[in-house]
Every structure is written in C-alpha cells, then in structure tokens.
C-alpha cells in the first residue's frame, strides 16, 4: 500500500496554523518532543541572524539549566556549526557565548569536568594577553571605550581641584592608571603652578583583564618619573586591597589619613573607572560571614558590600567622586536573563572592533580574548567567582544618592573635549547628555556612562 503526502509548496500561505511549539522540559509519553520554535510574532521582515542566534543561545541555556540533555545537545550541535570562531562579528559573539555555555555545562554537577573536555579535544582555554605598559597605553587609546571615561573624568577632576595645593587621587581603575599621565599633564599646565599629587591605588587585581606585566611598584616608579618630567611631585602608594571585600583595607587606610590630615588643604579625588562593578552587590548572597565584616563602622546585615563601600566613600568627605562604568545589567541571578542582557550589550565590542583592528591582528585577538573572558565570567560562573556584576547607570545614580552624594554636572569644556576625542574615532560613536551625566553610545546604543559626584 502506497501513500504519498506532500506539504503545499508555498507553506507560507497554505499551512494550517499550528500552535507554536513551546519549550517542553518534560516529555509526554505519547507525544514527540516539541522543538522550541522561533516566535513568529517577530515577523519575517525584522528577522535577523543575530536574533536567531540569541534565541538558540537562550534555548540552549534553558536546556542546560533544566538538565535537558537531548535538547542541549541538539542546540549545541547547531551552534557549533553556525558560529565559527573566525566568522563575522555576530558569529564570533555567538561563538564566545557558546563557549561559555559549554564551560558552564562542563562545570555543573550532572555534566563532565573540564578535564574530560580537554580529552575530547575541545580547546576551551582563553588566551588573555598580559600587556606591557606601552602595549596597554596603545590598547586603551584604540577606542573610546576607556578614553571617554578618561576624558570626562579628567575634565571634571581638574575643575574640582582648582585652588588646592595637594591633590590626592585614589585611582580605582581596571586599566592600571592609564588615565593618570594625561591628568598629570593637565595638572602640570595649571596656571597657578603645579601642586603636589598623591596617587593611591588598591593594588593589582591579578584575575581581571586587561592584565599588566609589571608590578605596581614598577608601574608607580614609572609614573613618578613621568610626573617629575612634567615638574610635578608625585607620591605613589599601593594599598593592597581587593574588590572582593569592597576594598576594605584601602578604605581603612584612607579613613585614617582623613582623620590625620583633615586640616590640610588636600583635595581628595576618588576616580572609579570600570572597577566598582566588581564589588559584590545584593544579588550575591549570602554575604560573607558577618564576623569577618571588613567595615568597622556600624553595619546592617542587609547591606551589600557595594552599598557599604559607597557609604564609606561618603564618610571620607571627598572633594569629588567620578564614577565611570559600563551601562548594562548583568546582575540577574537568572541565567537566561543574564544571557539576554549580556548578548544585547556585548555585541557592541565585537561590532566596533572591525573599525579599529584588522582581522587576524594580534591586538584583535587580545581584545576579543578579554571580551571572551568577560562573557565566560558572566555565563559560566556563579557566586563569588562571577565578578562581572555590571549595573546600569540608573542603578548607580540611585546608589550614589542613597549614599548622600549629589550629582555634579559636566561643564561645556568637558563635553567639547569628549566630542573632540570622539571625532578621532569611527563615525558610529556618539555622546549623549542625560541631565548631569554623559553617556557614550555606539550606533545609538548605550555603552558607558560618566558621572561626577559631590558630597550632598
């Protein structure tokens, strides 16, 4: 007995509408597994490859979280084929996320250890580069990603420290004081003569990219020499301290100084550049043991280290606090939420890299390796190991206000300096002014924000 069935040749119009297969985490005995479909509500016109890849990644993450090995395998198989590590920017972005999901799956209890993965010939290691000072200086200059924050911050700082004879800068930056030489230069050119500058840093966080091949002592002596060449006396100090406890030892040291030197005319500048988002916040629970609480002033057990850090800053009565960070929300405890947010933010560095680094160049490898590291941290890690806890500008603004700071506006000069800087880079970069704050954009999407604060 022969039967032939055919689907209509134009399925778009003639197919009887089927209910969209939804995500099935349990199998019904007499029904075949539903394949997670793509919501047709998105419409065919706006359908894009990136959209598709995001959907696949989301379904994959769901499958891994719900231990649906079959579905996870199927999607991973597809992703492996459509996201080569040397493809276009969407493909490379997807590849990095795919890698992170595989690492996550390999870590989870029901799946294999990474060692077994190595034997399966999967190279999952990321080759992050350790930069020399020259390399790092060139690197951060390639793109406005960091230059934006440097320029805006330096302008605000200069304005705030006018008239002070001693400037004490506390540099909490992921870029190892790369902002400082330009600032020293500007300070040196002040009309009223160069002041003394004290620079305090919390010491190198060995695990965070970009990584430097110098010790901070070596770095410090380079900076002191540079300052001397500009006729500025620079005192450099490292207070070993880590983001993991909210820079407790640094805060203690500063508090001590504050008590001792309260009378002198010293401007205290707290420069936070892409660093504060590593301090644990409320979604990281439970907090470390209450007995080991680093802060010595009264604390409430419900406050995160991030809140307490900002409070401690306020207690130092700084002359100005500059807070620059990435404008995205990577704090959700829900993997899929986090994945969506990360995917919808980290496409930006992959998209921009074509404009300033040629394919195959070593620098591009370093750049993308650092992004890869970030993606892996956000997707594959949990708890204390997940350090990339980026919060959007609105959240930080609220935090600073809660900590009794008030926003300071960036002056016209600051704005025009940033604009001039942006002109040196590709056309896609832009600047937004939102009330007191400045926001760096790429093709209209928010990338990073710069805010300045004074004690309220």
């Amino acid at each position: 007995m022969m039967q032939f069935t055919e689907t209509p040749s134009r399925p778009l119009h003639q197919i009887t509408p089927f209910s969209i297969p939804t995500m099935n985490t349990t199998n019904q005995v007499h029904q075949a597994r539903s394949w997670p479909g793509f919501p047709t509500a998105k419409g065919l016109a706006s359908f894009g490859d990136a959209n598709c890849m995001e959907q696949l990644l989301v379904h994959c993450a769901n499958a891994i979280e719900s231990n649906d090995a079959t579905l996870a395998q199927q999607i991973l198989w597809v992703l492996n084929n459509i996201a080569p590590p040397d493809g276009d920017s969407n493909q490379r972005l997807t590849c990095a996320f795919l890698r992170a999901l595989i690492v996550r799956a390999a870590r989870s209890g029901t799946c294999k250890m990474l060692a077994a993965m190595a034997s399966a010939r999967c190279n999952l290691s990321i080759d992050t580069h350790t930069f020399s000072v020259i390399e790092l200086a060139n690197y951060v200059d390639l793109t406005p990603w960091h230059r934006f924050g440097f320029t805006a911050a330096n302008a605000a700082i200069l304005e705030a420290v006018e008239g002070y004879s001693v400037i004490h800068i506390v540099d909490l930056s992921s870029t190892h004081c790369m902002q400082i030489p330009t600032l020293i230069d500007a300070i040196a050119n002040r009309l009223e003569g160069p002041p003394m500058v004290k620079l305090t840093v919390p010491g190198v966080s060995k695990d965070l990219p970009p990584m430097l091949d110098l010790t901070y002592e070596e770095l410090g002596s380079k900076l002191v020499n540079f300052a001397r060449s500009r006729n500025v006396m620079l005192e450099f100090r490292v207070v070993p301290s880590t983001h993991a406890d909210g820079f407790a030892s640094l805060i203690d040291q500063l508090r001590l100084q504050h008590l001792v030197y309260a009378e002198t005319s010293e401007a205290l500048v707290i420069n936070c550049h892409m660093m504060l988002h590593y301090i644990p916040e409320e979604t990281l629970s439970p907090l470390p043991n209450a007995n080991s609480m680093p802060y010595t002033f009264e604390q409430s057990p419900n406050q995160s280290l991030r809140t307490m850090f900002l409070k401690a800053l306020r207690g130092l009565n700084p002359t100005i606090v500059v807070l620059v960070d990435e404008d995205a929300d990577l704090t959700s405890n829900n993997l899929v939420c986090r994945l969506r947010s990360a995917f919808n933010y980290l496409w930006i560095p992959y998209d921009t890299v074509d404009t300033f680094l040629p394919k195959g160049s070593k620098q591009r490898q370093w750049y993308e390796a650092d992004i890869c590291w970030k993606i892996e941290n956000v997707i594959a890690h949990e708890g204390l190991q997940r350090v990339e806890r980026v919060e959007p500008k609105s959240r930080w603004v609220q935090r600073m206000r809660n900590a009794e700071f008030r926003g300071a506006s960036f002056g016209e000069e600051a704005v025009s300096e940033v604009k001039t800087m942006l002109d040196e880079h590709a056309a896609g970069w832009g600047l937004k002014k939102e009330e007191d704050d400045l926001v760096l954009t790429w093709k209209g999407h928010n990338v990073a924000f710069a805010t300045a604060w004074l004690p309220a």
């Binding site: 022969m2 039967q3 969209i20 490859d49 492996n80 459509i82 294999k112 010939r121 999967c122």
Partner: protein
C-alpha cells in the same frame, strides 16, 4: 555484572572464576561424573562443587587474617606456593593454620532461602544444578560477605544460556526446555533489576519463544513496523546517546556535503518522528550564504488508524522551517517495507544535491537467502542511480547475521549485555524502561525469529564496507568536525563510559571500548558527471 570484565569476586578472589566467559566460545559442558565445578576447572583449579561453599568461607577467613596481620602475610607470600591446584581446599586450610591469630570471624551464618524448585530435573545436569543458598556472615569488623554470590549465579546463567543455545542449534529441544526451566529458577534468585540478571531474562524469554513457538512463528519484531515501536524508539532516543550520536554525526556529514548547493533533497529511510531534522534545518538556516531550498522525503510505515502520521510530522517540520526562513517541502512515502519503495516515488530532481540517510535500516534488507538477488542489492542500485551527494549509513556494530545460530546468540549476548550496562547510567523514567523494551524486541528478533521475520540482521562495519564498495560506492571520511562534535557532546551530556572512536573515516560510539554503533558516509563512484547545483 558485565560479561566482558573478568569479575573480581568479593571473597579472597577465586581469580579463575569468571574469565572464561569473556571469550566468544562457550566453555565446554562440565563433565557429568566428577562433581567438579566446571568453571573453575577451566582455570585449572579442581574443586568439588559441594565443597565450594566451605572453601569460599575459608578464603574469606584467610583474607581477613591477612588483612589483620600483614607482617605474617608477607612471610606467607614467600612461603606458600600452590603446588597442586587440584586440592584448593587443603591448600587454603594449610595457609590458615599458619596464621598465629585464630580467625576473628564468628562462625555463625544465616542461611538464606533455599529454593526447592531448582532441585527438580537434576538427572540431566547435576553439576550445574546446585542447591544454591545465599549465606551471609557478619564478621566482627562489620564486613558483610555474600558467599555464593549473585555473580556466581550470574556466571552460571551465562553458562546455561550458552548450553541451551547450543542445544537449540543441535535440535535437542527437550534438553533445551529443561534448561529453560532451570534458568528461570535461577533467575528467581538473581537480581533482575540490573546487570546480568536483566539481560539474561530477555535471552531466556527469546530462547523459549524460539523453542516453544517454532522457528519463524514469532511475531516479535517481525518485518513490519508497529505503531508502538515509534514510542519505544522515541524513548530509546531519549534514554541513551546511540540514536542522538547517529543523528548529529549523519547531520554533520550531510551539512558539509550540502555546502555550496542551493537545492538540496534529503531522503530519510525511516522518518519516525523526524527527530533528526530540526537541528539540520536550523543549521542550514544560518549557514553562511543563506539557506538552500530544502526538500525532505520521509519514508515510514503506513499509519494503522487512518491518521496520516507522515504528513503530520512533515507539517511540523515545515512550520519550523518557516519560522527560520528556510524554503521547505516535505513528501511522505508510506511503505510497509523499505524494499517496496521505488526510486520514482521519491521524485528526485536531477539538479538537486541528494542525501540519502539510513539510520539502522539497511540491515533489514539483508534477506534470508544470500544467493538470490536480495533486496539490499536492488536498493543499493537505485540509490546509486540517484547519484547522491552523500549516503549516510548508521548501523549496529554487531555480527548478528551469521549463519550459525549459536554464533549469533553468543554475539548477541555480548552485544546486548554491553548495551544494557550502558543503559544503567540513565536515571530517567519512563524513558529507561521503555528503552529496555525497545532493546528487548531487538533481542527477541535476533534470537527467536528466522527467515523473513528476522529483520535485525546486523552486520559489522567491515562487512558493510565491503558490501557498499562492491555495490559501487566509495567511502567519504566523516571529517574532524563530526568527531569533535561527537566527542564534545558525549563528554558533556552522557555518562562516563561512552567512547567515540574514529576508524578509517568512520565514527563508532561504544561503551567502554566495545563499539556498539557505527556511522559512515558514502558517495556513488562517479560514472557520469556529478550533479550540478541548481540555478537560483
């Protein structure tokens, strides 16, 4: 207890006790007169079956004593040489007396249930029939030791299965039937939830069906497909990685073969629920350069209840394809047997790149008569005439089509006990239970069916290579992507113990180095020009 391991038994290691069963030939039947245990005899130790229990107890005592006084032991090790293995009991006793410490165990033991049933029919095979009792003896140091162990019974079961199969081959059905009874009795004392007990039970069933229903009469897994077999297949798919491995390995080869072609056509020899195709559709959707026009022709059995299940599956796949912007057309070909399909039914367009996909279907075409033109040759010929870009073949890696029944039986026992072992790792129900039934049906077909009813005529890769080469196909290496994907996916999501191997361009998936399923890819040796890509 796996057949292929030399089982290390618990009590002081009668090391010869199991290794004999790992060879493919069954051990010779035990001598009827001497009451010597046959299995140990093969290893060179002569010991009376009636004394087995006492010797085992003493060996345990010896082991405990050794453990408690290692200094004495090292002395002992250099002194004690087993000159005469024919008197194992005496040797153990002499060792025991050497130890200063009296045995620390108490001599109480709790006799387990004694099975009365097994003592019937003793006249035929006394040494194999024992009053097997479970004994448990608790030592002072809280060791619980089981003497006449389940492993022991397991070994005996295997032993008896081989003997029974050999009887069947010889035509001695009365002996075979009594062995069946004995085995069922023995089965009652063995753990049938896992290990040897479970798979032995299926083989006993299949043997009895073969004996009592006559050859060829069984309807187990007979030539046609059945509706419930789809459900079983689906659960087998979920419970263990064999089918998934087949799908993603075949898909990888097909995806790579379709590279650069704008019109492609996949012919699936057994559509089932179309589980293989969503992943391929999505991979084609996002391939660089955009998706091709994809046609899928799915072959499957006619639906018994008037539903058109092929069409339903085709529509679901079409819906998925639409959602990812892949132009797609489906055609269902309902056929009770693969050999009833004729190439004109597939409506292959000469301008298309064709992939023919056969997941465990080709062996069904190996008819009972090897001399006449078997369906396999007919089908391979028309596949060749389609000039496919690729023919993906996945088959069970086993030799279940040998002419000798005993050879087939032995091979199947080895193969399916390995497969059942691998299934132990699956924790999900009802997937696991239904997967076991799926495998059980295969066992039933291999063992109890003959002639045209026996469709599970698995042949190993080496044979398929010769057959396909002889039919005018040349092998296509599966490529490193397929291997990497298979390795990664299996490492991530399947229990430890599975292994992917690559041999001469083909991939196999096995359990602990025994390959169980083999995937390969082929292309027709070009006679005319190769198929051109379609325009537009």
């Amino acid at each position: 207890m796996p057949l292929y391991d030399s089982a290390s038994s618990s009590a002081g290691s009668c090391s010869g006790s199991s290794s004999s069963s790992s060879s493919s030939k069954p051990p010779p039947p035990p001598p009827l007169q001497q009451d010597i245990d046959g299995l140990l005899a093969v290893a060179g130790y002569k010991i009376r079956s009636s004394e087995l229990r006492q010797v085992a107890q003493r060996l345990e005592r010896l082991e405990t004593a050794m453990g408690n006084s290692p200094a004495d032991f090292s002395q002992l090790a250099s002194d004690a040489i087993l000159y005469n293995p024919s008197d194992l009991a005496a040797w153990v006793d002499s060792l025991l007396s050497e130890f200063a410490q009296p045995p620390t165990c108490s001599s109480e033991f709790i006799p387990g249930p004694v099975n009365n049933g097994s003592t019937t029919a003793e006249s035929h095979t006394p040494p194999v029939q024992q009053n097997i009792t479970y004994e448990q003896r608790t030592l002072d140091n809280q060791l619980t030791v089981v003497t006449a162990t389940e492993e022991d019974s397991g070994i005996r079961l295997v032993h008896m299965l081989m003997t029974c199969a050999e009887c069947v081959q010889r035509g001695d059905f009365s002996l075979a039937s009594s062995l069946i009874n004995d085995m069922q009795g023995l089965l009652a004392r063995v753990n049938t939830v896992c290990g040897i007990g479970k798979v032995a039970g299926h083989f006993i069933d299949a043997l009895s069906r073969r004996i009592f229903r006559g050859i060829g009469g069984g309807s187990v897994g007979g030539g046609g497909y059945a509706f419930e077999s789809e459900i079983l297949y689906h659960h087998f798919y979920e419970a263990c990685p064999y089918l998934k491995f087949a799908h993603f390995t075949a898909n990888q080869a097909i995806l790579e073969a379709f590279d650069g072609h704008d019109c492609v056509h996949v012919v699936d020899f057994n559509l089932m629920h179309g589980l293989q195709w969503p992943a391929l559709i999505q991979a084609l959707a996002l391939r660089p350069g955009g998706p091709p026009l994809l046609r899928l022709t799915g072959i499957g059995p006619p639906s018994p209840d008037g539903r058109d299940s092929l069409r339903e599956i085709g529509l679901r796949l079409a819906e998925l394809a639409r959602s990812v912007n892949v132009r797609f057309a489906f055609r269902g070909v309902a056929a009770s047997r693969l050999e009833d399909v004729k190439p004109w039914m597939l409506q292959v367009n000469p301008k298309e790149a064709v992939a023919v996909n056969s997941i465990m279907q080709l062996h069904r075409l190996l008819g009972p008569d090897p001399i006449r033109n078997s369906p396999i040759e007919t089908v391979l010929n028309w596949i060749k005439d389609l000039n496919p870009k690729i023919l993906t073949v996945v088959e069970q890696e086993a030799n279940h089509n040998q002419p000798s029944f005993l050879d087939r039986f032995t091979e199947a026992l080895y193969y399916y006990s390995t497969m059942f072992d691998s299934l132990e790792a699956c924790r999900v129900q009802p997937e696991k239970a239904l997967a076991e039934i799926y495998i059980q049906k295969e066992i039933g077909n291999v063992v109890s069916c003959e002639g045209s009813a026996r469709v599970e005529r698995h042949e190993p890769l080496a044979k398929w290579r010769r057959r396909l080469s002889g039919a005018g196909f040349r092998p296509l290496a599966l490529g490193s992507n397929a291997f990497k994907q298979a390795s990664m996916l299996l490492t991530l999501f399947s229990a430890e113990g599975y292994s992917v191997e690559e041999t001469e361009g083909c991939l196999t998936l096995g359990w602990h180095s025994r390959p169980l399923i083999a995937a390969s890819a082929w292309q027709a040796v070009a006679e005319a020009g190769s198929s051109a890509a379609c325009v537009g």
